[in-house]
């Protein structure tokens, strides 16, 4: 009887005991094996797992994804994730951020840490190449918005065809005038769409000239009545960000346009495709 209970306990422990995992924050350009303190998610101790001359920053955890329905909790995790990457970035100058909630698990006889080292070894060349590509570079975000009302007014003032149509409204019957206005509205809408594309091309070209790499991001929904027409991430050499600032000044000074210039960050947007 007792024997049977013992066996059950052992089996239960085997089934119930959570597998161990390693939460991975980033890859750093360093061979150092060090502990960085309790700076990780939920105050976990963060340390490096080196392979050759690179290392992964990790904390020990169960092999289960971090999940929560509470946005404040997730927000805190995300901030911790970034803080670890920023710490490594300041310490070693060159890091490859890893996507949130990436956890390496144990597989059959191999521990999570063995699997991590094997992964680093297998992908070493690729990781080194990316580290080389982003070396001494920082990421900035640039969002350019326009004031659609201001732009529309400007078009109404300057567009010859619209002006001509406006002048023709006088003397028309109520119904015809209405239809005429509908036509003007359609033309205005079309002009604005063409304008947005033209400005996008112009600004994209200007920014591209002063950065090393550029990536188009989704535009965000309108805020404070401003409509975003360009959202990009750029990779720039650390000491050349002033050129970018100047290029953006010239756009920010345009009537009806405003520029949001954010960063610098580690190269989050330039380590994976997509």
């Amino acid at each position: 009887m007792q024997n049977r209970e013992t066996i059950e306990t052992i089996i239960n422990n085997m089934v119930m005991a959570p597998e161990e995992g390693r939460y991975v924050y980033c890859i750093a350009d360093s061979a150092q094996s060090v502990h960085l303190g309790k700076i990780g998610i939920d105050g976990n101790e963060v340390y490096t797992v080196p392979y050759n001359n690179i290392c992964a920053l990790v904390h020990k955890c169960n092999a289960e994804p971090y999940k929560s329905d509470d946005p404040e909790v997730v927000k805190a995790w995300v901030i911790s994730h970034d803080r670890v990457i920023q710490t490594a970035w300041e310490k070693w100058g060159n890091v490859l951020p890893i996507n949130f909630d990436t956890i390496i698990k144990e597989v059959s006889a191999n521990s999570a840490e063995q699997n991590l080292v094997a992964w680093l070894a297998g992908e070493y060349e690729g990781l080194r190449n990316v580290l080389q590509r982003v070396k001494n570079k920082v990421e900035f975000g640039i969002q350019i918005s326009w004031d659609p009302r201001g732009v529309a007014q400007q078009i109404m003032r300057t567009n010859k065809e619209i002006q001509k149509m406006e002048s023709e409204i006088a003397g028309k019957s109520k119904g015809l005038a209405y239809m005429h206005r509908q036509k003007i509205e359609g033309l205005l809408k079309q002009q604005m769409e063409t304008g947005a594309d033209a400005y996008f091309r112009d600004f994209f070209g200007r920014i591209k000239q002063v950065v090393d790499e550029i990536k188009i991001e989704k535009t965000k929904k309108p805020e404070n009545g401003l409509q975003m027409i360009l959202n990009v991430a750029c990779l720039v050499e650390r000491d050349k960000s002033q050129d970018l600032g100047q290029a953006l000044d010239s756009i920010n000074n345009l009537e009806n346009f405003s520029v949001r210039f954010i960063g610098p960050w580690p190269p989050y947007s330039f380590v994976s495709r997509g």
Binding site: G21, V24, C26, A63, E64, P65, K67, S68, D69, P71, V74, K75, V78, I79, H81, D82, L96, P97, I98, F100, D101, T102, I103, I104, K105, V107, N115, A118, W119, E123, G126, N129, V130, R133, G141, D197, F200, R201, F204, I214, K215, I216, K218, T219, S241, G245, L248, N252, V259, F261, I262, G263, P264, W265, Y268, S269, V271, S272, R273, G274
Partner: protein, 100 residues
């Protein structure tokens, strides 16, 4: 102009990066992340003040629609400038995007 990186003012930009960017490891040694995109959506919904939509299960459809629309828009943008630039530089095969 000078760039800003202030905790609160750029929090949403940081969330975009941490949740959507960075190296994505595809291998069987990774804990399955089936539920994870939902975290991102949850979080964004809360920030945008759309908890109600989420509560009534409207978020999934909304999210799909927005994503589709954005994808088309990005494709259109790419076509606009394709002739003079390379948007994405493929790197090692291991580092793959989540959406492609």
């Amino acid at each position: 102009m000078e760039p800003i990186r202030n905790g609160h003012a750029t929090l949403v930009d940081l969330l975009d990066r941490v949740l959507d960017k960075g190296i994505i490891i595809y291998a069987d040694l990774i804990v399955s992340l089936a539920g994870i995109p939902l975290i991102g959506v949850n979080l964004r919904a809360a920030i945008a003040g759309m908890e109600t939509m989420l509560k009534y299960g409207m978020m999934t459809e909304w999210d799909d629609r927005v994503r589709t629309w954005e994808r088309q828009r990005i494709e259109a943008r790419k076509l606009l400038i394709k002739h003079d630039t390379e948007i994405e530089e493929p790197i090692a095969g291991l580092l793959q995007g989540k959406d492609k």
